[in-house]
């Protein structure tokens, strides 16, 4: 069997973000990058499946981006992927989800992957589009936001996380793509010997021009901090008036009351 897991490198989300020169994305200077959290669940699940299937299964990890993403690829290799594809693109952050998905789809097209794993979204962009769009472009069965995964003889049984802690149980036939959510598993730490051994695993570099065929469908006009919360308001007076005001605020400003 052939498995693919797609990962993205994102900045540490604790960082302070400043707009770049064009004002459409963050300035990367001084940011520390790491593997997107949701992609860690994807890698872990892919590696677990790889271990379960044993010999004859090949697990490839793919990432699009500048040279720095090799570190994330090496982490995935140290976690147990067999080989890696680095789609070299210094300008990856400027591409929209449609382009990113189409690059991955172009890579995967003739390779006959049985299962593709992605994160449900990236922590920095948060569009939650890439995984499903790859599946659509490749004509694969697909489900999203999974918190449980089981594979048996060509059929995946997955549980999707729905609102309010409810889960939806789904079966899909491979070839298929799933997007992974927090709660699916606890990603392993790569062991130090495996980090050193990953040096010897193959990382294929592919210039993005060889795979990019699509124009962007959406553009970012600006990247900026959210409007500052004004100072808080102080409510005083009669209790029943106060209750009315607070109810109105809860309805207006929060999703808690409808």
């Amino acid at each position: 069997m052939k498995l693919l897991v797609c990962i993205k490198q994102v900045p540490d989300l604790e960082s302070r973000f400043k707009p770049d020169a064009a004002g459409v994305w963050y300035n990367e200077t001084d940011l520390a990058f790491r593997m997107n959290e949701y992609d860690e669940y994807a890698v872990e699940q892919a590696v677990q499946l790889r271990e379960k299937l044993g010999e004859g299964t090949e697990l490839t990890v793919l990432s699009i981006g500048p040279d720095r993403v090799v570190e994330a690829l090496k982490k995935a290799l140290a976690m147990g992927c067999d080989n890696a594809a680095h789609i070299q693109d210094p300008a990856a952050s400027g591409k929209d989800p449609w382009q990113i998905a189409s690059i991955i789809a172009a890579y995967a097209k003739d390779k006959g992957f049985d299962v593709i794993f992605t994160g449900m979204q990236s922590q920095d962009r948060g569009s939650a589009q890439v995984g499903v769009t790859i599946a659509e472009q490749l004509g694969l069965a697909c489900t999203t936001t999974i918190v449980s995964f089981d594979y048996d003889n060509g059929t995946i049984t997955a549980k999707r996380e729905l609102e309010g802690g409810i889960k939806g149980v789904v079966k899909l036939k491979t070839p298929a793509l799933v997007t992974c959510q927090l709660g699916l598993n606890v990603p392993r730490y790569p062991t130090l010997p495996n980090i050193m051994k990953a040096k010897k695993k193959e990382i294929t570099a592919i210039p993005v021009v060889e795979l990019l065929r699509e124009e962007a469908l959406a553009t970012t006009a600006s990247f900026h901090p959210p409007a500052k919360k004004g100072g808080g308001i102080v409510l005083e007076g009669d209790v029943s008036d106060l209750v009315d005001k607070v109810i109105a605020i809860l309805k207006d400003k929060t999703a808690v009351l409808r």
Binding site: Q137, K167, L217, A218, V246
Partner: protein, 303 residues
């Protein structure tokens, strides 16, 4: 301008959040048509066109089939925007529709702004203004970002049907697991502080937490006094939380407590003291006696 709104139906019920789509369309000033895979027994309270497919035949989760239905309605309506909630249903289905039509998708919109749509990014710390480059676009809106609108009336129904298209099989739902307090995951936390007065008053705070669908937290003095167990404690020696709504009842705002909750999206503090330090970070400071105000609020919320 025209929108096609995609309603949601789950476990045999039309979801109330569907009305947020109407709120969004209203802010856009757009004409609306709606599509729902649901039942005639539960219709949205609105008077426009409703493309209705029978949930009994089409299933609640069958994205391949639902996509077909939506594409059919898109053909008939030629909407500028096809709008979903950014929910487990919406984010799963929206990219399929966008990809089939080769049109842009803008995800999790929090506001309509000049020149496009505002979306969150970087874990909500930053915003982007995104503009579709295609004539039509698929949009998903953040839950709670737009007001609920119930314009009234009854929709004009056009029935849709489709068969097949499902590459997956939906087996069913699993109920949420019951578990102990997990403040880290709670979307609403109502916390008790020393201002609550005595242990016997704790149920009053718990009742508000329950009415708001959240968990009860507490400040350290309340835990130290053993009015509640340590698993409820918020602050440097307890848990650090960032719920959508944090209600601080009778909490003055010691720095140890603030460190544990100041990242909450929206903070309401109830305190007799107008100058309590909690006021510095609260979005709303209600100057009142906790034991008078909280039960009154609970009663209204529960209604």
């Amino acid at each position: 301008m025209k929108t096609l709104l995609i309603g949601e139906y789950r476990e045999g019920k039309l979801l109330e959040s569907t009305c947020e789509l109407l709120g969004f369309a209203n802010q856009l000033g757009a004409e609306t048509a709606m599509l729902l895979v649901g039942s005639e027994n539960q219709l949205p309270v609105y008077s426009g066109t409703l493309y209705l497919a029978d949930v009994a035949a089409c299933g609640e989760y069958n994205p391949g089939l639902h996509k077909k239905l939506i594409l059919e309605a898109v053909q008939k309506e030629s909407p500028d925007y096809i709008v979903f909630l950014h929910s487990s249903y919406g984010w799963d289905l929206a990219p399929r529709v966008a990809a089939s039509l080769r049109i842009a998708q803008v995800s999790e919109i929090v506001a309509i702004v000049d020149g496009g749509f505002e979306v969150g990014c970087c874990n909500g710390k930053m915003r982007r203004t995104v503009k579709p480059a295609t004539a039509q676009a698929v949009l998903t809106i953040q839950a709670g970002a737009f007001p609920v609108l119930q314009p009234g009336g009854s929709p004009e129904i056009r029935k849709l049907s489709a068969t097949d298209g499902g590459a997956l099989e939906f087996i069913g739902y699993e109920a949420a697991e019951k578990k102990d307090v997990d403040l880290a995951k709670a979307e609403v936390i109502v916390s008790a502080g020393r201002g609550v007065g005595k242990k016997d008053n704790i149920p009053v705070i718990a009742a508000l937490a329950k009415a708001l669908g959240g968990e009860m937290g507490a400040s350290r003095p309340v835990v130290d006094a053993e009015w509640v167990s340590h698993s409820h404690q918020v602050g440097t020696t307890g848990q650090t939380v960032s719920p959508k709504l944090y209600v601080a009842c009778g909490i003055s705002g010691a720095i140890q407590h603030l460190a544990g909750m100041k990242k909450s999206d929206f903070i309401i503090a109830i305190n007799k003291d107008k100058d309590a330090p909690i006021g510095e970070i609260a979005d709303v400071l209600v100057v009142a006696d906790v034991m008078q105000f909280v039960p009154a609020l609970t009663a209204r919320v529960a209604r």
